[in-house]
Symmetry: C2
Subunit: 704 residues, 2 copies
């Protein structure tokens, strides 16, 4: 960690501000003000030929004139002057730079060319450059404010509330959102390590900043806001590092809709990419996806304050019956258990609450038990109980003069907590209550849905199995194959699968009517007969499939009909012939496929066949290749997984064989990613356990 290349970026000993200003209403002036108000202890070198000094600081006419070691140069000048300023910085030996100025790739044209030159400068000189179009960063533990965001301003009347013992790092591809997350984390009393706004990412991109956070000793959990990843290799390596370090990453990815994509594209000139590919990568590394600002911060707050629980049994201790019921419902919706307490525990609790309370769970202690100090005692009992893994305390924190717990009693419980103890307040917490609770290391959660998600993710974190490095290496299963045509027919696709060791049904391509008898002599009737042509990928639509063909006579008639229909359907189609295969045994129909994503490469998917995939979006994706454990996890994540495990008395099906197919297809896609763009096995029939699978249909698209 001590050696991370970005150390001098986030913890510089000296900062030059190119374009520094005395006008505190404008961005350069604001930045200097915030930097100084936060008490930056290093050297500050304002650079601006118009001034001799700014306040008590000497102002330099140029970078070269500084003539001292510069760890970080912050550039806030008109876009056209930026490149030459950066060249001067590099010449002066500056280690890092942040370009705040806008008007580069997000404008396109010549402005985009200027950004390309900035990137080239970074590559050539080794000076690391963040931005342009960035809002800078804030290093909270060291109080280094290299940003003009007003959220980092110091207000003596509103001291920083620090309720969480651990710190959250924030990496955002939007300054507005990055510092809004900081603003909201601060309001909840969540401690922050660094906030970085990555701007247009000419050189330093989000993946590298994630890598820094994954290794930063001050960062315990990470919040990310992503529009589009520009350094996917770095990002994936950093994701792995964060997972290995056990640092949860809570991520929001925008550009999921057409309008969102348009916005991301015009904002920092990033491409939003294919959402499913992002979600596949997030799932692999155990990232927690959130679509809500407060929810994302609440989840981070939970990780920053509470230990990871051992199980999913939650006790709800409440002063309001209605609020307790609501929280219990919310937790149940998240799939958590809110079990009735054991009789012995109920007896202990009953002694501490009035007769109109309830000891069952939710434990309704009523306002009276709060006055008598019962709340802490009951939390203490639950903390000791083996029946409970998480404790949620439901209170009202609106009062400006009282809180429902005594600091001297609750703080030792919180300090020693072996299981999460989280506080939800149904009224909005007063400043007094937040300050009081923070002194005991307690964050007050005001959002009921967000609280439920936070508890759920704490529990899921305890169950997350990192795929580790066991995923198979990329292999080259068909090294002889130079190139794959853009569209293969089913028969050609199946031959390619067979070449790579994937079993396909025995089948004959009957090119000519005269081959019928000899071809079919090798198959058992009944058979399925299917037209084969690269120009007819959707055979059923073309009437190109005949099933349950029972004898040679039927087969002959079917052959003629299929050929005739194909000619009618698409007169100019090049027809290879008719594929005959034995009818597949019954089984659950699934889809397995791969698509090559521009950012993350091949992605493998599995879904229920038929209507479920399309109507209910019941599909799971992972970056390829996957190993068997990952493939089994993918299958388990399907809503329709129940269908595979003996649904309504049906036999369990061969999920191991299905998993093996997913693995093999994912390896194939990864190994041939330069030659194959898509694989679709649809359907594959999964037979009962031990009876394997049948690939009924397959289509491979090559890169030509």
């Amino acid at each position: 960690m001590s050696k991370h290349p970005l150390n001098t970026f986030f913890a510089p000993d000296s900062i030059a501000i190119i374009g520094a200003s005395r006008d505190e209403k404008k961005i350069p002036g604001l930045l200097l003000t915030f930097l100084r108000r936060n008490g930056f202890a290093g050297e500050i070198y304002p650079v601006n030929p118009s001034y001799e000094s700014i306040g008590d600081l000497k102002c330099y006419p140029s970078i070269a004139a500084v003539d001292k070691s510069i760890d970080l140069a912050i550039v806030i000048i008109p876009a056209r002057a930026v490149l030459s300023a950066l060249q001067e910085c590099a010449a002066a030996g500056a280690k890092n730079a942040i370009v705040i100025s806008s008007g580069f790739a997000e404008e396109g044209g010549e402005s985009a060319d200027m950004q390309a030159e900035i990137a080239e400068l970074a590559r050539r000189t080794g000076m690391r450059i963040s931005g342009p179009n960035a809002e800078g960063f804030y290093n909270e533990p060291q109080r280094i404010a290299a940003t003009f965001s007003p959220t980092v301003d110091v207000r003596p009347d509103a001291p920083r509330l620090l309720a969480s013992p651990r710190r959250v790092g924030i990496v955002a591809q939007s300054g507005g959102i990055g510092f809004a997350i900081y603003n909201r984390a601060k309001a909840m009393g969540v401690a922050v390590s660094k906030v970085i706004s990555t701007g247009n990412e000419s050189d330093l991109a989000a993946g590298e900043f994630l890598d820094y956070m994954a290794q930063d000793a001050d960062t315990d959990a990470i919040l990310m806001f992503i529009e589009g990843i520009r350094d996917p290799h770095m990002f994936v390596a950093a994701a792995r590092r964060a997972a290995e370090a056990g640092k949860p990453v809570i991520v929001t990815k925008v550009g999921r809709s057409g309008a969102g994509e348009r916005a991301a594209a015009s904002h920092t000139a990033s491409m939003a990419g294919w959402t499913a590919a992002y979600d596949a990568v997030f799932a692999k590394y155990g990232f927690i996806v959130s679509h809500d600002l407060d929810e994302a911060v609440a989840i981070a707050a939970a990780f920053a304050t509470a230990p990871v629980p051992r199980g999913d049994r939650v006790a709800v201790v409440t002063v309001s019956g209605g609020a307790g019921a609501w929280v219990a419902d919310t937790l149940a919706t998240e799939g958590l258990q809110v079990p009735e307490l054991s009789q012995s525990l109920q007896a202990q609790v009953r002694a501490l609450i009035p007769s109109y309370g309830s000891p069952r769970n939710p434990v309704d202690i009523t306002a009276q038990a709060v006055h008598s100090g019962g709340l802490q005692t009951i939390v203490g009992l639950l903390e000791q109980s083996d029946d409970i893994d998480v404790i949620v305390v439901v209170v009202s924190l609106a009062s400006e003069t009282r809180i429902p717990v005594k600091r001297e009693e609750i703080k030792p419980l919180i300090d020693a907590q072996r299981k999460p103890i989280l506080f939800f307040t149904y009224t909005l917490p007063s400043q007094f209550a937040r300050t009081e609770l923070a002194a005991s290391g307690i964050v007050a959660f005001p959002g009921i849905t967000a609280l439920g998600r936070a508890v759920s993710h704490l529990v899921r974190q305890s169950r997350f199995k990192f795929p580790g490095r066991g995923a198979p290496e990329l292999s080259e299963p068909v090294s002889s194959l130079k190139s794959v045509p853009e569209k293969l027919s089913e028969h050609e696709s199946k031959l390619l699968l067979q070449e790579t060791g994937i079993a396909v049904p025995p089948g004959y391509l009957i090119r000519d009517r005269s081959q019928l008898a000899s071809a079919l002599s090798g198959l058992m009737f009944p058979v399925a007969m299917k037209i084969q042509s690269r120009d007819i990928p959707h055979k059923s639509e073309a009437g190109g499939v005949k099933v349950n063909v029972r004898d040679l006579d039927e087969a002959a008639a079917a052959f003629d009909e299929l050929i005739a229909r194909a000619r009618t359907y698409k007169p100019d189609a090049k027809i290879d012939g008719v594929l005959a295969e034995p009818m597949a045994r019954p089984g659950v129909e699934m889809i397995v496929g791969t698509v090559n994503d521009d950012t993350f490469g091949p992605i493998v998917m599995v879904g229920l066949g038929g209507i479920a995939t399309e109507l209910f979006k019941d599909v799971v994706y992972r970056p390829a290749p996957v190993d068997e454990a990952e493939a089994m996890a993918m299958i388990g994540e399907l809503k329709s997984a129940a269908l595979l495990n003996g649904f309504r008395g049906a036999p369990k099906v061969d999920t191991a064989a299905l998993a093996a197919l997913i693995v093999r297809i994912s390896q194939l896609a990864a190994g041939l990613k330069d030659r194959v763009s898509e694989i679709e096995i649809n359907p594959v029939r999964v037979h009962e356990t031990g009876a394997g699978i049948t690939i009924v249909d397959a289509l491979i698209a090559g890169r030509g």
Copy 2:
């Protein structure tokens, strides 16, 4: 409205406080303090034999001693003394009473009996009683605080922020939640009419309070928190009245999980009931269901500030590209459109923003355009445009000194808005910003998911078609039928359906092998043959079904086998015989059924047959009976509706015939609710348009 029986309850001229106290730390003292601090203009009569006066108020030894007209008596004394105090109130001619005291039905036993006597007293005397175990109410426009909730206290340093031109009424079966909603509404600047906490509802229950709010001229939208409805007839009538008055009702119903139900039961001794029945009633009357406190308040805030839009096309005007993309994604997730602006509109916008902004939609105006006043101008352009139905303005309101709009420019736009103009802030709004915006009638929405939901519900409200009174009256289709056995066989069920005019397939019940030939002479082969016995409701599980029976010989063999299998499966089953029916034509398999709910009576449901119902919970419910429009709406709400409307090139199916079946079955269930407890038609095959339906299987359960 002026004659509503609860007028004197919510707007009393005189209030007696039974159990009044000088101790301001205890509930009776707090209540008196809040009542006076809010400036209640009527008479206050403290009743307590221990005092001669409380402050400057005369204190009475008993109710009788007051000897003046009492509109409202508030009772805060130990449980055992409550009944006699209420008797005295009634004797003294008090019009209404609120019992704050706890220790009644929620304790069970003798305490529950006391509550029953309170209810009886109300019935006998006509004095209306709210509670026991209630937290009272707050009438905000008239500033009548009949509650000890600290949320109604008056703080001179924190003046009430009123941003919404319209008011929200709050009805809650939990004092904690009711006043928490008030607390959060207040924080957003949403004006409130009345908050009522309904307690144990010995007499006055939630339905009647909803009825009051539906008629109250001060109430424009209603927020409800429900544990379990005790006056369902009143509730349903009030729901209809609210819908007819065009007042949106935003409802949270808890007790959806086992633990939530347990909590509701022990809290105010209410039964949570069957959630689907509640949701069915909510859907019928257009209630908006929310599971989150802040979201519910945000939706109410939208209705209290914005007009109902004409369509679903939303423009997002943002100062942050990232935040704009996020909001656009959120809106798209809610099914709303965020369309690219027309070229002419883009040209007008482009003139007002810097080159690195975007006029497309989201309209990224950048911070620079804010400084130049472009924000208001662009909102004005969008307000005039026919391309847009809703405007969402995305800003940062964290500053304590500046807001991004000028009051003199934005206020006229807001005052004259013909379409919703909603403000989302990605940072938390400062007190300064909230106060400034409130002065222009603007509520700042801080939750991104909640904002999306609020916009979505505004749009849905514009589309909501109230079923009106067109739903068919309850009918008695089989008046001859005295009672229905608890379990009917398929054949018996189908006969009952047929009696009520619902077509079932031609079929013969073959009781004896000797009847085979004559029975089957009337049917076309192939046929389906199914064992018939009230003791074997799940025929397939018992191996009791043979399909595609092709001739008389196969039928004879099938008959023997079905009888033999049934004897093996359940040796003591009383077997009626074997039902033979022609094989049903192909079609989409659906389920139609009814269940009798304890609270709301018969509920009708429709769902996709097969795995979808169970795996994907794709089922829609409504209270029975429904008319054809409602039945069509139910079908339209199914996720699988696409499957009925020509999915993947398949023909459209006969949804009109399916709707007619839903109507008929719902009428049957309503008409026979005292004799029939459940109907399940599973599956019904829906054939292509014009070809009707086939009831393949049916099961009716009677009440015996």
